[in-house]
């Protein structure tokens, strides 16, 4: 009998083309996502504003009357409210605030984006493996528990002592310890969908793991992943400012919005503009990502597709 079975059934060599052929339709996932997203006008507007902000930060530095790298201190000019000469006023040392704010905005956006994308890539990859590959579950759960349970500040102190402080080190460090939440969320979702019947079927048909993950499971993750991503941007900015507050942040030659806000905290009762400008930009970034993230996450949910 066994012998006959062997003859009757045999595994077909997997071919992506053949797989596509049966499932072919006009439907394209990403196209639908895009179409759905474009329907949310507020999100689209915010996204445009955000891009405008990024572009403007470069223009702003060019049209400003002062150059960040050659700012001079002058105690007589300290705490000047915004005026024709100093568009955003001056700080406590009498330096132009306009170029500081825009320079810092660039740093912060760059950092937040790099960290968010890094966390996302690392978190989703590890989360998928963690959830899907049973053998890895124990190992990764243990790893997660350990990393998650050692206070971040111990790592950050050690890193800055042993490796130093710079933009690159900071972003790598934040990614290294930031992927955990994302990975855990993804893992829980993967667990939920892993044993659904269609995946079982897929597996029986010999579809490789990566393809099941990418084609069958990933679309379900996109909406949550994007929401996390959007929320990680403000938290990166906040974490960065907390770390700077503890002396573990970016190097001194790279001011960030977090640092400006931290400093302004001491001044804002007397000189509110020092807080308002950086806070406005941070808020704008956060709101954009929140709205865009929400809209995109709705649009990415396959169940909302026609």
């Amino acid at each position: 009998m066994g012998k006959k079975n062997d003859e009757l059934f045999r595994f077909v060599e997997y071919s992506a083309e053949a797989a596509e052929r049966t499932g072919y339709s006009d439907y394209s996932y990403w196209k639908s996502v895009f179409q759905n997203f474009m329907k949310k006008k507020s999100a689209v507007v915010m996204a445009i504003i955000f891009f405008a902000l990024v572009i403007f930060s470069f223009i702003a530095l060019m049209i400003g009357k002062y150059n960040y790298s050659s700012l001079l201190t002058d105690s007589a000019l300290a705490f000047q409210s915004p005026n024709g000469e100093f568009w955003f006023g001056t700080d406590n040392l009498g330096r132009d605030y306009w170029c500081q704010v825009w320079f810092a905005a660039q740093t912060s956006i760059k950092l937040a984006l790099i960290v968010a994308i890094g966390e996302c890539v690392l978190g989703v990859t590890i989360g998928c493996l963690w959830g899907y590959v049973r053998q890895l579950d124990r190992l990764l759960t243990e790893l997660y528990n350990i990393i998650n349970n050692i206070p971040m500040i111990i790592y950050m102190t050690l890193i800055s002592l042993m490796v130093g402080q710079s933009f690159f080190i900071m972003s790598v460090a934040m990614i290294c310890f930031g992927w955990l939440t994302m990975a855990r969320n993804v893992r829980n979702l993967v667990l939920m969908y892993r044993d659904r019947e269609y995946n079982l079927a897929s597996r029986c048909l010999g579809t490789p793991v990566w393809r099941v993950l990418v084609k069958n499971i990933f679309p379900y993750l996109v909406s949550i992943v994007i929401l996390r991503l959007a929320l990680s941007i403000p938290s990166t900015i906040a974490l960065e400012s907390t770390l700077s507050y503890l002396g573990l942040g970016l190097g001194i030659d790279t001011p960030s919005l977090g640092i400006l806000l931290r400093n302004a905290r001491n001044y804002f009762l007397d000189y509110p503009y020092l807080l308002i400008f950086p806070a406005a930009i941070v808020s704008l970034i956060t709101i954009t990502f929140y709205l865009v993230g929400n809209a995109f996450s709705d649009a990415a949910d396959p169940r909302n597709h026609v």
């Binding site: 528990n145 050692i150 500040i153 102190t157 050690l158 907390t242 302004a264 956060t286």
Partner: protein, 316 residues
């Protein structure tokens, strides 16, 4: 179930032991200068410094130090604080503090859970209407403004307009806790509302809800019996952990309002090289974290009977 619990606990002990070891080793990698105060650095001779380090056992081989540490920890002897409160047993230092963090944290957590979940439900019920937008605006605002700034705003409003005490005072703990608690709830209300709304909206889109609607079930029943119950499952998992984490306090809020709680303790202990305090805190935090996840799993299982913990592969 009991077998499973024991197994989980044994695993957790291993995790805590690994965490403690790593923290122990990490602390030994920090420069020994931390061990001394500024004045000691200035006034002690190099020989005296070496003697001090020797007396504290910091110059012994790492393996020996580690074994000693294990021995003491097993006997639940966490040693004495070196700099936070010189000479005082670590347990007493922490004991004095955690009650305050726990009290403030729990009050804040209960308030934010209730307000946050209710807000999330209201938002879902009024999806895309004015109340939803108001809620969203609040969430956005809280997330958009860095906490140091929003604390400052709460502080100005509370102390200048309402006349509340601006920092925590042992003379009148009640009124002076109001502003710190308000600050603590600010962010967590937003996050509970956000996730409640998210999960409920997700649930609303599911096919069985559509079916229920078609079947003619009243939308109230759908909401209460199906949507809320199912949406609450993923949320429930984090509640025990959040409760336990209140013990660890909030670094920023407690420092900002001079609350004598656990929040700033870890940072202070690290910068003062108070190794015993750091190690004890790490062990406590790790245990809390692990217990929190475990209780979360149990709670989730109670809420959703489909989930089985002991099952092979574990679908928690």
């Amino acid at each position: 179930m009991i077998k499973y619990t024991i197994k989980r606990l044994a695993q957790s002990l291993v995790t805590v032991a690994i965490v403690a070891t790593i923290v122990f080793l990490l602390m030994r990698m920090l420069p020994t200068d931390y061990f001394f105060t500024e004045d000691q650095l200035m006034k002690l001779t190099p020989e005296q410094k070496t003697e001090q380090l020797e007396a504290a056992g910091l110059l012994d081989p790492m393996g020996e130090q580690l074994l000693r540490f294990y021995g003491q920890t097993i006997r639940l002897d966490f040693g004495q604080s070196r700099r936070i409160q010189s000479g005082v047993p670590v347990i007493r230092v922490i004991g004095d503090k955690f009650g305050i963090s726990l009290r403030l944290g729990c009050i804040a957590l209960i308030i934010s859970l209730i307000v946050g979940v209710v807000l999330g439900i209201i938002q879902t019920l009024n999806k895309d209407h004015i109340l939803d937008h108001v809620g969203t605006a609040y969430t956005i605002f809280v997330n958009a403004v860095p906490s140091l700034v929003s604390y400052s705003l709460v502080l100005v409003f509370g102390s200048k307009v309402l006349g509340l005490p601006p920092i925590y005072s042992t003379r009148n703990p009640g009124p002076s806790s109001i502003i710190p608690i308000a600050c603590l709830t600010l962010a967590s209300i937003a996050s509970y509302a956000l996730w409640t709304r998210r999960y409920m909206v997700d649930e609303l889109n599911k096919d069985y809800i559509k079916l229920a609607r078609i079947k003619g079930m009243s939308s109230k029943t759908i909401m209460v019996k199906h949507v809320f119950k199912n949406a609450f499952v993923p949320l429930v998992q984090y509640i025990p952990a959040s409760f336990l984490y209140t013990i660890s306090g909030s670094l920023l809020a407690e420092r900002f309002f001079s609350v004598p709680g656990m929040g700033p303790l870890l940072t202070d202990a690290i910068t003062r090289y108070d190794t015993n305090v750091v190690q004890t805190l790490s062990i406590i935090y790790a245990s809390l974290g692990i217990i929190g996840v475990f209780l979360g799993d149990v709670l989730m299982m109670l809420v959703d009977p489909r989930i089985k913990l002991a099952g092979k592969g574990g679908t928690r």
